[in-house]
């Protein structure tokens, strides 16, 4: 982690301290292959150039670079590992100084000082006094606080106009301030938590601290994967992304698993795209919706649920199945008790991870766990009170991808909905319900044979999809390695999207002879979110500053909507009838 931290810091430092022609000169001098691709400095991507240099050099080399090439005297850098002021580089960080400055601010201004800093962090860019004041309680004057923050070098002036000033928190100091304010899991808080956390059922082991180590590993995994991708496969991934779509991925999966089985894996991979939790907008503004959704596959054992949610995402080397999911963003929760989940959830505050739970039905068996689980599925504020301690309250911001085993005995929906927890899950997750039909059985059996005989080679396809998924995720979550190079784009719902869903709804309702319907209107919301997530696959195809919902994605969303409506309507109509009518 520290190594990756350093690379990120070095990258920011180099980019800030040197203009592009100097970066080019440095890169050429170091013989970095990236720079050989360019005839001159003007074609390089400054972000990539800085990253290439940063990931090649050591601290000693960095110092040498700063000694040889004159850095900009007017820039400052106050990182964890490096400090640059008045053109002089120090290999010692400024975080300790900033930390003590933060204490001073806290001491002098209390909550108000921290509120001002929070406002800066939330803005993520330069803020004027007016912007800060609008985030504070009425009557608090931010001017003296900001003046002190500037004096103590916690913020710097980011713009000086005519009688107008803006400040910002330096990018490299932002993680520290986030930690200190508890916006991201703070180290100090971590230490404190490790002292405070007392387990009831599971002895004296500090599961939160352990989980933080796990998170650190996962963060590292993502950073390393992304770094490698940016260094070696960026152009290829962008090129791949120009033609990639939900149809392409569906074709890929259909070829591998057949026309029935593919859909579960399609849902699983699309859910991975949704994890970026991108804002969904319409032509006139925000919808209040985001792309993230939970996935629940209901069905009898052996219907391929675990394969889709676990093996396809995390990979199964023994079965020659490479991972398709985002590296370091999927926490496998197999064998975990819900109590432990609720406890370790504290380590995930402010982070969006996907929890893969293979036996979700088991979690509901624990007494008193239904409510916190419901809250977790809603991404709400979790508080769990035990006789010796209280866990939380904390805000859980992760997602789930779960299997829910039900014995349907050929009757499908009836048995499932009799499960008292089904409504709770259906309300909060995109549910897919299926039985072990003959067709499904044949496809599973065939896939197993193909895999056993090595007829299925998904290595290459999986790598490309994973690269694309990781890059889109990094862009949409503003990962520091790509933040400055690719814009974050919201997904735009077009009027046509509503029109298509409405058409599907009318077609379904026409098929139901009764006055009442047996499925929830949430199905439509899930279908729309699915379409928006699937549209993220088109990131590199959109030249706008948004991604319009693609017609292909809508096609699959409608299919999902119709099929699920059919299952929930006790198959009063066949999906094919409606889909044919809709000409999809």
């Amino acid at each position: 982690m520290a190594v990756e931290d350093k690379v990120v810091e070095r990258k920011i430092l180099l980019k800030r301290a040197f203009p592009r022609h100097q970066l080019f000169e440095i890169g050429r001098k170091l013989g970095i292959p990236y720079f050989e691709r360019f005839e001159n400095a003007w074609g390089i991507d400054e972000e990539q150039a800085a990253f290439e240099i940063a990931s090649t050099i050591s601290d000693a080399k960095l110092k040498e670079i700063f000694d040889t090439h004159k850095p900009r005297r007017w820039v400052v850098f106050r990182g964890k590992h490096y400090t640059l002021e008045n053109g002089a580089l120090s290999l010692e960080g400024s975080w300790e100084t900033i930390k003590s400055s933060l204490r001073q601010i806290e001491k002098k201004y209390g909550k108000n000082g921290l509120e001002v800093l929070k406002a800066f962090l939330e803005a993520g860019k330069g803020c004027g006094l007016r912007d800060i004041a609008s985030n504070l309680k009425h009557g608090i004057d931010p001017a003296p606080i900001v003046a002190d923050l500037e004096k103590l070098k916690i913020v710097t002036v980011s713009y000086r106009g005519n009688g107008y000033k803006e400040w910002r928190i330096l990018e490299e100091a932002s993680p520290l301030i986030q930690l200190e304010l508890g916006i991201a899991p703070p180290k100090r808080a971590q230490e404190a938590a490790s002292q405070k956390t007392v387990t009831v059922e599971e002895g004296e082991v500090d599961y939160v601290a352990l989980e933080r180590q796990e998170i650190e590993k996962m963060e590292n995994e993502l950073n390393q994967y992304l770094g490698d991708l940016l260094r070696n496969r960026l152009d290829a991934t962008i090129k791949f992304g120009k033609t990639f779509s939900i149809t392409a991925i569906a074709d890929y999966l259909m070829k591998l698993f057949g026309p029935v089985l593919y859909f579960d894996s399609l849902l699983s991979i699309t859910q991975q795209y949704s994890l970026a939790d991108v804002e969904i907008v319409h032509e006139r503004g925000k919808t209040g919706m985001r792309t993230g959704w939970n996935l629940a596959l209901f069905g009898e054992p052996g219907t391929g649920k675990s394969f889709s949610t676990r093996d396809m995402i995390l990979g199964k080397p023994d079965a020659k199945i490479p991972p398709h999911g985002i590296p370091g963003r999927n926490r496998y929760a197999g064998g975990m008790t819900p109590a432990r989940f609720i406890r370790i959830g504290q380590a995930y505050v402010g982070r969006t991870f996907n929890f893969i739970v293979p036996e979700f039905n088991d979690w509901f068996k624990y007494k008193g766990m239904v409510e916190p689980l419901k809250l977790a599925m809603e991404r709400g504020l979790i508080k769990y009170e035990l006789h010796r301690e209280v866990i939380g309250p904390y805000k859980f911001s992760g997602f789930f991808s779960v299997n829910y085993n039900v014995a349907t005995y050929g009757r499908g929906y009836e048995v499932t909905i009799q499960d008292p927890n089904y409504v709770a899950v259906e309300d909060r997750m995109l549910c897919r319900l299926h039985r072990l039909t003959k067709q499904r059985f044949i496809e599973i059996a065939q896939s197993q044979i193909k895999l056993a005989f090595g007829e299925i080679d998904i290595e290459k396809g999986a790598k490309k999809i994973r690269d694309h998924l990781t890059l889109v995720y990094a862009i949409e979550t503003q990962h520091p390695l790509v933040k400055a190079r690719f814009p974050q784009k919201p997904v735009l719902i077009t009027p046509k999207a509503y029109e298509i869903i409405e058409k599907a709804r009318n077609a379904i309702l026409e098929q139901i002879p009764r006055e009442s319907v047996t499925f929830s209107a949430r199905l439509e919301d899930r279908a729309m979110r699915f379409a928006c997530s699937a549209s993220l696959l088109n990131y590199f195809q959109s030249s706008f500053d948004y991604i319009p919902v693609s017609e292909e994605a809508l096609k699959y969303a409608v299919q999902l909507y119709v099929e699920e409506a059919s299952v929930r309507s006790r198959q009063e109509f066949t999906p094919e009838e409606v889909l044919t009518k809709l000409q999809l």
Partner: protein, 543 residues
């Protein structure tokens, strides 16, 4: 011989010529021209004769570059001078603009500092690219020649006698690299100018956004102050108005009280006047009765009473008049006092209101000044951007010129193109005088015969031959003449090697020369180029 060698044909048939122009004819025609030339020089004496007629090849290197080839002179006689303007200090500009992005005052300073930076290039240098052929006419002639001879394929093991080249393939590639380097430099300069243009545009658009933000901020600050002040002001104005109205009411009340008393008195007086008027009338009636009765005493008494009554009426009227005047004056004075009071209060009210107006004016002026600043900023930037664009256009023009140095003929590798010519040596005593015959284009004999049916044989031999075969390009002719003669004179070693080459390629000393010549002359005669007499003369001389 190099792997990629293209030997161009000396004589290329024009489009209208269908007959084959044989090598025999080529040799015979050259000899005829050489002989005509010898005679023209006055070499009739036996010791001044043609010593060699050699078919040599001038080496030209075609080095692939971009979509064409650069033509490099194998003898290195020619060179190109390329003017390279020096770019203004882009690095300093970038630094100043980037620094000014977060500070508008500094940005203004950098705009002022660089107002003239991009007006022109910062000077220029001339780069000499040795052996590069840059003459447009010559390049076009070479390209046309190569195009016409396109049926002739590149190949190896081609046996020709070359004018000894001074530049090998590596030397030629090195020269071409110089052009490529210059081209890259131009491209880099264009990119740098485009970069600074976009940097400047981005910086100014950021400042524009910030000015708009400032305007918004200023508006909000002033509006906030105004909103804060307005209730106080309104309260004060209201208070003043109330005070004013109370005072006016008080003044009116006092005046009205006074006026009312006077009006009451006036009424009383008027009633008194009325009574007196009636009394007077009664007295007048009684006096008149006394007068009719001649009652002198009574007459005197009523006369007296009438006078008393009239006196009293006069007094009362005067009093009524005084009272009316008083009332009028009191009211007028009151009105004037009220007006004075009103205006003094109005002044106070205006003074209060002016605090808001002053703030509104300040706000509007402030906003206007920022809007003006934005316009000025845009204008100042546009000026620099225009200058940058002008430089970009000039650089593009340069790039185009550089690209025009290449002929649109692309080979995969550097190739040797052998450009044929005949070198004829005339001996004049101890000296040998050289004559070059450049490549020719051969016309259709039928066409010429048709046009000059009767007059053709009246032409001199040289003119006649030139009708049938013409040097293909003046530029090529000039090039060969200049390059060979200049080098031959200035470079003794080259002269020696050239003569050795000429000796080795001397067709007069060839084994089949006689047969070739006779066949050639017969073929030329058959096409009507020459007559039997000329055949005989040349046969006698050479065969």
């Amino acid at each position: 011989m190099l792997k990629n060698t293209l030997v161009l044909p000396f004589a290329v048939s024009a489009k209208d010529r269908c007959e084959v122009f044989t090598l025999n004819m080529e040799v015979a025609a050259v000899l005829l021209l050489a002989e005509a030339r010898r005679r023209k020089l006055g070499f009739f004496e036996a010791d001044r004769k043609t010593v060699f007629v050699s078919k040599l090849h001038y080496p030209l290197w075609f080095v692939p570059w971009e979509d064409g080839s650069l033509v490099i002179d194998g003898l290195g006689v020619f060179s190109a001078i390329i003017k390279c303007p020096a770019l203004p200090d882009v690095a300093s500009f970038i630094e100043d603009v980037e620094r000014g992005v977060s500070d508008r005052k500094r940005f203004w300073a950098s705009l002022e500092k660089h107002e003239k930076t991009f007006v022109d290039f910062a000077g220029s240098v001339e780069v000499k690219v040795g052996a590069l052929i840059s003459d447009r006419e010559l390049l076009s002639a070479v390209f046309e020649y190569v195009g016409e001879a396109s049926s002739t394929q590149f190949g190896e093991n081609v046996s020709v006698v070359l004018t000894p080249p001074k530049l090998d393939v590596h030397g030629a590639v090195e020269r071409a690299k110089q052009v490529s380097h210059l081209h890259k430099q131009v491209q880099s300069e264009i990119s740098s100018l485009e970069y600074v243009r976009s940097l400047l545009n981005e910086a100014v658009s950021l400042h524009e956004q910030m000015i708009l933000k400032e305007i918004e901020f200023t508006r909000e600050v002033y509006d906030g102050e105004i909103a804060k002040l307005r209730p106080t002001i309104e309260r004060k104005v209201d208070q003043l108005e109330r005070e004013r109205d109370a005072e006016i009411a008080k003044m009116n009340r006092i005046v009205e009280n006074e006026v009312k008393a006077k009006e009451r008195e006036r009424g009383k007086r008027e009633r008194e006047l009325q009574r007196l008027e009636l009394q007077k009338a009664s007295f007048v009636r009684r006096r008149d009765m006394c007068r009719r009765r001649n009652d002198e005493v009574g007459l005197a008494r009523w006369e007296h009473r009438i006078r008393v009554c009239e006196n009293r009426i006069r007094e009362v009227k005067r009093r009524i008049n005084d009272l009316a005047e008083f009332i009028e004056e009191a009211r007028r004075q009151n009105e004037a006092d009220i007006e004075k009071l009103r205006s003094s209060y109005q002044e106070l009210i205006e003074k209060e209101k002016s605090r808001i107006i002053s703030l509104e004016t300040q706000r509007d002026e402030n906003i206007e000044s920022k809007q003006r600043e934005m316009e000025t900023l845009k204008h100042a930037t546009a000026k620099i951007v225009n200058n940058i664009e002008e430089l970009i256009n000039r650089e593009r023009e340069r790039e185009k010129e550089l690209k025009e140095l290449a002929i649109p003929w692309r080979t995969d590798d550097a190739s040797l193109v052998c450009l044929p010519f005949y070198l004829v040596g005339y001996q004049n005593g101890k000296e040998t005088q050289l004559q070059i015959f450049p490549p020719v284009r051969v016309k259709s004999s039928k066409g010429i015969m048709k046009a000059f049916k009767k007059t053709l044989m009246g032409f001199t031999l040289s003119s006649r031959i030139k009708l049938f075969q013409q040097p293909r390009s003046k530029a090529l002719e000039r090039m060969l003449d200049f390059a060979l003669k200049k080098t031959e004179k200035s470079d003794k070693a080259f002269s020696e090697v050239l003569r050795q080459a000429a000796a080795s390629a001397n067709i007069l000393a060839g084994q089949n020369f006689r047969e070739t010549l006779i066949k050639g002359l017969e073929e030329l005669k058959a096409e009507g180029w020459i007559g039997q007499k000329e055949v005989d003369t040349l046969t006698k001389l050479y065969a």
